[in-house]
């Protein structure tokens, strides 16, 4: 058996798995995770993992492989993943958390499948309907959390209120900040703006005496400008906003390369300027913010971007360990209970 903090990993999830997974763990242990004591349960095909682990000595020394030949495909429907997913690398990664063998599960696999299996195996916290997917996003003042980013495409006001509570606890655990500012994303900051769902959630959060630092409506540009720390929205708008932001960063990266290479002179001076440009590239690299957490479950599950490489996987792994080491689960229990008690007290019905 492994001792210390244990991360249960779906080694077969992701466009380029299992390669990026094993390389990602090795990369993590060589860099950010050099002094971490975490150990890993790797769920996947032993025959595929063995040669990869042979080239990743740090990862190998801290891992235990749990063999399975089954894996969920990236394009499988959630319902399908659930039906035929038992015993797959993803299923087993989650099951290890349920059985208390690991503190946290991590997968770069199929998002819908991960949600469905997590929900069925770990079950939701009392009163929560579905898991929310919370992403981190860099902003002008540091880091922000945006949720939901795709798990719930139709949300009612009660769910948005829950997201506020879940996101707030997550932010505190992840960034050790006392009173993160929680904002509700809307099309304008005036009271009269927005659809009925957003207005109802705004009223509920404004009335609350839970001690959440609710700052009211915020807008899309606040996500990058740091207008709040926690950004609450439904999964449809949140997914669209985040993917649009990713696309924008990618586009600017392209412009950047073209602009800096369109003449010999530019090439030369760009070479001289390399250091500053490397810093910049690092800041706009989505691999450095990879890893979204599924909130509201009886257990912690982290979703890495499916298309990421080993650097991105390493970021998600670092995030997983950071959360596993925090008081995150206790905090969520405390704040959710308080929310639902208050819901009853003030007669709030979604």
């Amino acid at each position: 058996m492994l001792d210390g903090l244990i991360v249960s990993i779906d080694a077969m999830g992701g466009d380029d798995a299992p390669g990026i997974v094993i390389k990602g763990i090795e990369y993590f242990l060589k860099n950010e995770g050099k002094n971490r004591r975490a150990r890993f349960l790797l769920h996947g095909d032993e025959a595929a993992l063995a040669p990869l682990l042979a080239k990743a000595p740090l990862a190998k020394a801290r891992s235990e492989v749990r063999h399975t030949e089954l894996a969920i495909a990236m394009d499988e429907k959630a319902s399908q993943a659930l039906r035929r997913g038992k015993g797959s690398s993803m299923w087993n990664a989650i099951e290890a958390v349920k059985q208390g063998e690991a503190t946290i599960a991590l997968s770069a696999g199929n998002t819908g499948g991960l949600m469905a299996i997590s929900k069925v195996r770990l079950r939701m916290k009392p009163g929560v309907q579905r898991p929310a997917l919370a992403a981190t996003w860099p902003n002008a003042k540091g880091m922000g959390v945006v949720l939901d980013v795709g798990a719930n495409v139709d949300c009612d006001a009660a769910q948005l209120t829950e997201f506020a509570v879940l996101g707030e606890a997550y932010y505190r655990a992840l960034y050790k900040v006392e009173n993160p500012r929680v904002g509700l994303l809307n099309v304008g900051s005036e009271e009269s703006k927005g659809n009925d769902t957003v207005k109802a959630a705004h009223e509920r959060l404004s009335q609350s005496e839970l001690g959440i630092n609710y700052i009211g409506y915020v807008e899309g540009d606040d996500i990058s400008m740091g207008g709040a720390d926690v950004f609450v929205t439904d999964g449809f708008a949140g997914n669209l906003a985040l993917k649009t932001a990713e696309g924008t960063a990618k586009l600017i990266g392209t412009y950047f390369r073209v602009a800096l290479q369109n003449s010999l002179w530019s090439k030369f001076t760009t070479f001289l300027n390399m250091f500053a440009l490397r810093q910049l590239r690092k800041q706009i690299d989505p691999r450095n913010v990879n890893g979204a957490v599924l909130l509201g479950l009886n257990g912690i599950v982290i979703k890495s971007h499916g298309g990421t490489d080993h650097v991105g996987f390493s970021t998600a792994l670092g995030k997983a360990i950071g959360i596993a080491e925090s008081n995150f689960m206790d905090e969520i229990d405390r704040t959710l209970d308080a929310l639902h008690e208050e819901d009853v007290d003030i007669g709030f019905i979604a």
Copy 2:
């Protein structure tokens, strides 16, 4: 009276109006609009406009001032703007289009007010419920149109279908492209993804035989990657996505400045590299894509960003003139009629 193409301008709309408006017209006539024959009806306070026009000889020579002391405040509610807006600079700018004195109206003022007044004075095209706001956005392959970006925070499938038809005609008129690709924004490109409204609109557009080049679901990152030419979504998600993209571009601009100035060496080499950086800055400058059009009205109304400066206002003005010179209105009549006929034929009820 003015001859040739006439643009009716709300000279008092915008955070820094009327200064940016007059400077914007002058800037346009000195640069992009050097050879354009357009003329301008300026609605606003004569006493405020006269000294500005005295410093803008090109604008003065082509403008006629229509005095009014009334103006809609930037933070006024739409209902309020409508109630007390009669005779205001915004109202009169739209009224001139209604009366046939001008081909197109342009305002950097209050969006809600502009929508409400446009709707009441110009009225919607038959069968259209509310105007949609269509923005242009640069992408890796050229330019894209995104709609709705904030006019309709709750949309049904029939509206999304209309947006597709309106946006397609707009794109053809603005960019002289024969068969623009129309995509429906969703949280994934698989058939099973999305909420019920999006799924119903997808089915309707897939069935259509109107000759629209409908390519199915697209995602947020396609907006910047050029995955479609016309991006259809509801006003809540569209507004959030676009503002998030703006914020991201702004944040990267900040990173950019910091990264390139954090050492003397960087400062020196950056100076050498100035030309390439200027090109880049131009490409990510939101002022160069300013100007959203209100679609579905009996008349053309352009909304400039309220916080823009004279350069941004000039961009919106150029866009206004480009649309006014195109066959945009005829095309919209033709395609909307065809859509609604087909709606009846196939028994599509939203």
